[in-house]
């Protein structure tokens, strides 16, 4: 399903990229109101310095977010992203419109070229969404924890939302942590639960089209990279002696280890490949989901620009498809959270090998 999602996304992206160009050509390239699907989609899935909610007529409704920069020229500076509203320059900083740094804040270097400030820890749209999701998650979990604390265990099992939450918790503990990690599973349960619920909540929030949701959080590679780094730490910080022995001195013929440490090299490579796979998988799935939904929505505007009759027919089809894809994405939201947690647990379990060589 992942592959087909990506394939579909790529296909639609191609369709979307070609269609407007055709319409451009047909309309003698003068009509600037034609829909640029690629731009729409990329603007959505990429990070931004403000949270654009909607455009009402000519008025952009968006939430300005704080920009925090460190540059050799100005030192630490912080200001609201409102200053860039109309493509203006502020303190020598502006948002680049083309090149490698498109959409990012740049300043003019000494050589006259655009360059990024040394440190840019602005609270961007994705950072803001991460914060929002984090707050929602913490509030939900702490409220549920408080309910448990208050009611104690002697009362009947919870129903409704708390019951569903408990079901997921029990699923992560009993179906993911226990079977994959083994005896030491208790140490990793909080991390797995946090990762699972953070990813699941972020995925779901991404499916909500308006403000607190709709941001492409888990479809951003930095976010998934942070999660993958956490899993990497969870795997390697508590790996036991057997794990490190298998990396640096595995049970293979001597010539594979000495003089060229071929197997250790492969094992060390594997250490990084595992979380890298997690990072790419989650990122690609969610990005593809967002892209597909947006592409289907954009079909309406693209075909409307070509012909009203075709546009009307396509609208129905497109809405149906978008609804279908949204349902699929709810499933994907769960599955990807599950898969990330499951594979994290599997990798953690691999870092806790038992002395199986001695058992035989």
């Amino acid at each position: 399903m992942r592959g087909s999602n990506l394939f579909l996304a790529a296909l639609l992206l191609h369709v979307a990229m070609f269609l407007p160009q055709k319409s451009f050509a047909a309309q003698t390239n003068s009509d600037t109101s034609a829909v640029d699907v690629k731009k729409i989609i990329f603007e959505h899935v990429k990070d931004a310095y403000e949270w654009h909610i909607t455009t009402w007529g000519d008025k952009h409704i968006s939430i300005p977010l704080p920009v925090i920069l460190y540059s050799e020229r100005t030192g630490w500076v912080a200001f609201s992203s409102e200053v860039f509203h109309h493509g203006e320059e502020y303190m020598g900083f502006r948002i680049s419109h083309n090149g490698d740094n498109e959409g990012k804040i740049v300043e003019m270097g000494a050589d006259g070229k655009e360059k990024r400030p040394i440190i840019d820890i602005s609270v961007t749209k994705t950072v803001f969404a991460v914060l929002l999701n984090a707050i929602i998650l913490v509030v939900i979990v702490l409220l549920i924890a408080r309910r448990y604390k208050r009611k104690g265990h002697t009362l009947e099992a919870p129903r409704g939302f708390v019951g569903a939450f408990e079901m997921l918790v029990v699923m992560v503990v009993d179906d993911i942590a226990k079977p994959n990690i083994g005896a030491e599973y208790k140490r990793y349960v909080p991390y797995l639960l946090t990762a699972f619920f953070f990813i699941f909540l972020s995925n779901l929030m991404g499916l909500i089209p308006i403000f607190p949701g709709g941001s492409n959080v888990t479809g951003n590679i930095a976010v998934t990279m942070a999660l993958a780094i956490c899993t990497f730490l969870a795997i390697n910080l508590f790996g036991n002696r057997e794990y490190w022995k298998e990396i640096f001195w595995p049970d293979v013929p001597m010539w594979l280890k000495v003089p060229v440490p071929l197997m250790p090299f492969i094992e060390i490579f594997g250490m990084f490949v595992k979380p890298f796979a997690l990072m790419i998988r989650l990122f690609a799935n969610i990005l593809a989901g967002h892209t597909v939904v947006l592409a289907f929505v954009c079909i309406i505007f693209v075909t409307m620009a070509v012909n009203t009759a075709i546009g009307s027919a396509m609208t129905v089809l497109s809405v149906l498809f978008t609804v279908f894809i949204n349902f699929l994405e709810i499933l994907v939201a769960f599955i990807q959270a599950f898969v990330f947690t499951m594979l994290s647990a599997v990798f953690i379990g691999l870092s806790q090998p038992k002395h199986h060589c001695n058992d035989k």
Binding site: F42, V45, K46, D47, I68, D100, N101, E102, G103, I119, D120, I121, S122, V123, T124, T126, V127, V130, L131, A134, L137, V138, V141, L142, I144, A145, Y148, K149, G152, H153, T154, A157, F165, E166, V169, V170, V173, V189, P190, Y191, L193, T194, F197, F198, N220, I221, A222, V223, M225, A226, L227, I229, C230, L287
Partner: protein, 168 residues
């Protein structure tokens, strides 16, 4: 494909936020939920166990009461049997005793009757003897008034006596 390159600022924020969320949830959130779920599980197990034990106890009590009832029934039957046999025995004894007494009384009565009869017989015999002596006297007095008759009577007696002796 700039979105394939992780942004350092975002990575920084994400690590911090996720770290804080992890810290808070790992300390105050999930352990509470998990421990409560565990405790509830134990509680349910315990409750099931005690319910099973209670059932067993109940079954035990039922069995015991049934056994008690059964022995009571047996006891009742035994007592009834005993009572019946005792009644029969008493009745039999009473009847035997009555029979004995009756027999005794009958015997006594018979004895008395026999004695009375003997007495009466004796009396009668005496009376008869006296009467016959008197009759004999009277007859003798009347008969002996004539000498011939006396002789003939003596002869008759002698004959009789003789015949008697001869018959013997």
């Amino acid at each position: 494909m700039s979105f394939l390159l992780p942004d350092a600022g975002l990575l920084f924020w994400m690590l911090i936020v996720f770290g804080i969320v992890f810290f808070i949830l790992a300390k105050y959130g999930f352990p509470v939920i998990i421990s409560m779920v565990e405790e509830r599980k134990l509680y349910i197990d315990k409750s099931l166990k005690s319910a099973r034990e209670a059932n067993e106890k109940l079954a035990d009590i039922n069995a015991r009461s049934e056994a008690l009832l059964k022995t009571a029934h047996e006891e009742q039957a035994r007592i009834m049997r005993e009572a019946l046999s005792m009644r029969d025995r008493i009745v039999k004894e009473a009847r035997e005793k009555a029979e004995e007494e009756r027999a005794e009384m009958l015997e006594e009565t018979r004895r008395i009757i026999r004695m009375e009869k003997e007495d009466a017989m004796r009396d009668i015999r005496r009376q008869v003897a006296l009467v016959s002596v008197e009759i004999a006297q009277k007859l003798l007095r009347k008969e002996l008034s004539e000498s011939t008759k006396q002789y003939s009577l003596i002869e008759e007696f002698v004959d009789e006596t003789m015949n008697k002796h001869q018959d013997k």
